[in-house]
Amino acid sequence: MLLQSQLPTWTALAPVLILGLTALVLLVFDSIDSDSTNSTLLAGTSVVGSLSSLAFAAAFLVEGTGQVSTGGEITLYGDALVVDGMALFFMAIFASVVAMVSIASYDYLREDQHQAEFYTLVLFAATGMGLMAAANSLAVAFVALELASLPSYALVAFLKKNRGSVEAGLKYFLIGAVSSAVFAFGISLVYAATGALTFSGVAAGLENTEYVGVAGLGVLMIAGGFAYKTASVPFHFWAPEAYEGAPAPISAFLSSASKAAGFAVAFRVFTEAFALSVIPAGIDWVLLFGILAVVTMTLGNFAAATQDNVKRMLGYSSIGHAGYALIGLAALSAGSAQNGNVLGASMAHLLVYGFMNTGAFLFIALTEYWDVGRTFEDFNGLAKQAPVACAAMTVFMFSLAGLPPFGGFFSKYFLFAGAIGAGFWWLAAVGAVNSALSLFYYSRVVKAMWIEDPDGEFELQGRPVGLYAAVMVAALGTLVLLPGIAPVIETAQSVAAALFA
């Protein structure tokens, strides 16, 4: 057992550092042999790197690094970064998603000339996400957010001869650029009001600031920045485009890891910097997030219900899920004992979501590999040809819909129960209604695959091992999270409670 407590404190960042180092190693590989299309080496390096990152994150979580049991959070580099349970929890999510995406890309990119760049960008983005989870200052949050975003733009437009991919990249980029400018301006306003950028400093400054209006505007704009990263209203409209146009493994990566990263930093910023105990009256971000959550989940679900294209439907549904996760922020109240539970449930939902949504998009990657087509009709009768993969997809769909035997039910249950317990029954009600609605469009996929007859005869070309393995890992994760939810939810809620301590 590797004990972080026996190592220098900076090693608490190991999960992030390993991701970054792996990216650099891949760059070195590509420098040595820039024409290489050795998928095994490149994807393998990426997988090994992300898995070791996951191992460290999990080991640290188990050991209690940064948690109360081992002396509380570890702050590094002059309070710029903090490693606590929540940071490690999210790092574990990112590492698992990267691992799955890398395995899947092994087949997806088989013919591509720029594989090394692909994995490097994924890993750099994941590094940025890890840093987002560990950010303890608005400056670091912004830099990390950009580090996560910039490679993502390139990744979305990675298929540069594919018009859809390029268009998706452009839209993702344009909205990303605007929202990061808004975010930066928000930070500057908060700085203007408080004179500090570290979360603790901002909290201290907010308590008796004279510029309440400026601070309020700043908070609003920062919330806008997070809305972009998490694909929530009002900066959500890039999501369906980007997810539809991007290479499917990247859609998987963005819709789960990137979203989780946005929430990670939003959780910390709003619970520590703009903590309810210090925020001046008049800046009611809880209400803001409440409204955003309701609008986001409703809009996402209704839009998803009207789609013909499965990938796009998943894109909208991921907006809906952002709405659910927002409940974690919307159901907080100052000094409530339930805060940790609500936030923890939201985190657990993001973890489960990380598996099931990644899996769903990777299944899309599989169909893209087979050239099956993208509409519901194109999936007709797929189960006859590929029952195992379709069974996995069924698990993802039902889990996303929140049906009980799968992980998605649990996280949603905890989320809604937490919201009710915290006194926000209307959030839970809207969430539950949306959840029921979502079953309609998720089951359409299942119906197409299993029940409909194929329109014509088609033969699936090959059985891509990597894609299959990745889909199976995700399915297994979604299933195992049912009996294994106990440690996850307990960890999530205890680390979330630490934020309010």
């Binding site: 539970n341 029952p387 049906l403 009980p404 079953l439 089951s443 049912l482 939810i485």
Partner: protein, 509 residues
Amino acid sequence: MIIEALIAFTFVAALVTFVAPNKVAGKLAFGLSLVPIAGSLLMWSQFDATGNALLGGSLAFEETFEWLTLAGYELSWHTGVDGISMPLVVLTTVLTSLAIVSAWTPIDDRQSQFYGLFLFMEANLLGVFTALDFFMWFIFWEAVLIPMYFLVGVWGGPRRKYAAIKFFVYTNIASLVMFIGFMALVFGLGDSITSLGLPEIAQALRADELGTFYGIDAATLKLVAFVAMFLGFGVKVPIVPLHTWLPDAHVEAPTPASVMLAGVLLKMGTYALLRFNFTMLPETASALAIPIAAIAVLSVIYGAMLALAQQDLKRIVAYSSVSSMGYVILGLIAYTEFGVGGATFQMIAHGLISGLMFMAVGVIYNTTHTRMVGDMSGMADRMPVTTGIFIAGAFGYMGLPLMAGFAGEFFIFVGSFGSTVLPYAPLFTAAAMFGIVIVAGYLLLAMQRTLFGQFRLETDYEVGPAALHDTLPLAVLLLLVIALGVAPELFFQMITDAVNPILQTGGGL
């Protein structure tokens, strides 16, 4: 541990079957499904529980494993059986095996997936009837839907897609409504419970520990929760007017799925009504006795009338199920030993009889490829054995003495007639009894038109007796029906033992 072993074994069996080759899947699944039968019979033989599982009675084969603590509630794996669930467990295992055999002929595509789903469903059904922790129970409850959805959707008739989606959406929304209602109770109980164990919740509710929740007082909360749960479970039962999914699902489902649907899945609804509504909230139930009884009688009469108007044999049997389930509700609301006990007994009886009827219709359909009453006649000539069993089953349905159906209905009427909870009990009972007449009417009519007279179905093949493996399950079921009719105390003893606590501690019922 035997319950856990059974459930786990069935799950594994499902997985094994799922990956087995199509050719052997049917036989394999049958072989594997014998183990749960043996297990459930073993349980029965060693059954030693007394009292109601939820109300402090001793349980048989009880197991508890801590799982996780959440927001002050302990969730655990908690299983056990009492007199109410034990017969249902036996019913589930037996009926599953027989349904698997009855699937050998009609299912000729993707067999391994079919039987895999079947066993998966069985595992979850066992879970539903044995789980005593709300969370576990709910997971199994919902998980049953998924295989059924596929069974109807993939192997069903021409309108299978519509039927499957309708079934799925109906029952899922119902689950959600029920879930919210139950959760309202849980939150209302507040700190007085420390886990989501059903016994603890039931006892807390009966001890009147329900507090206010969001300013809603306890009585209103109970009412709301009761209604929500009643509607939620009512869809599964189904009660009129929430029954519209059922004919579609039944007609489109392949025979074995219909057997399971009518035989076991509907019982989930009444079982849950008994466990939740009528055990946990007796005062509310008795306060609502008249509307509930009205719904029960409506189900009986309306279901029977609808059955009378059908031309499709399967539809007839399906609607008659609606009718039969109405009796069960009536028995439950009676709140007498014979009423509730009879209702529970009727669940078993109806499970066997409706299974038998659906199978018989299936066997006829396999041969004739039609289910329309008008298309067939004189089947008795060509399929004498099947016909005989069919007639016997129909008599069981009508409640002929010495059949299980008679015992169940008789107990229910006795119980409801003497009910003190239900005002105008004799009136309701009499109205419900009228249903029997209609049932007899349509069944006789259907039999007369299909089975007797001149055979005139035009086919390009010889219509002859069904294969042995098609007939055997029918015979077995018939034997069971008769056995239960002759000796209802096989189950009735343990049932009343478990039912009595519900009545006793009911607070002035």
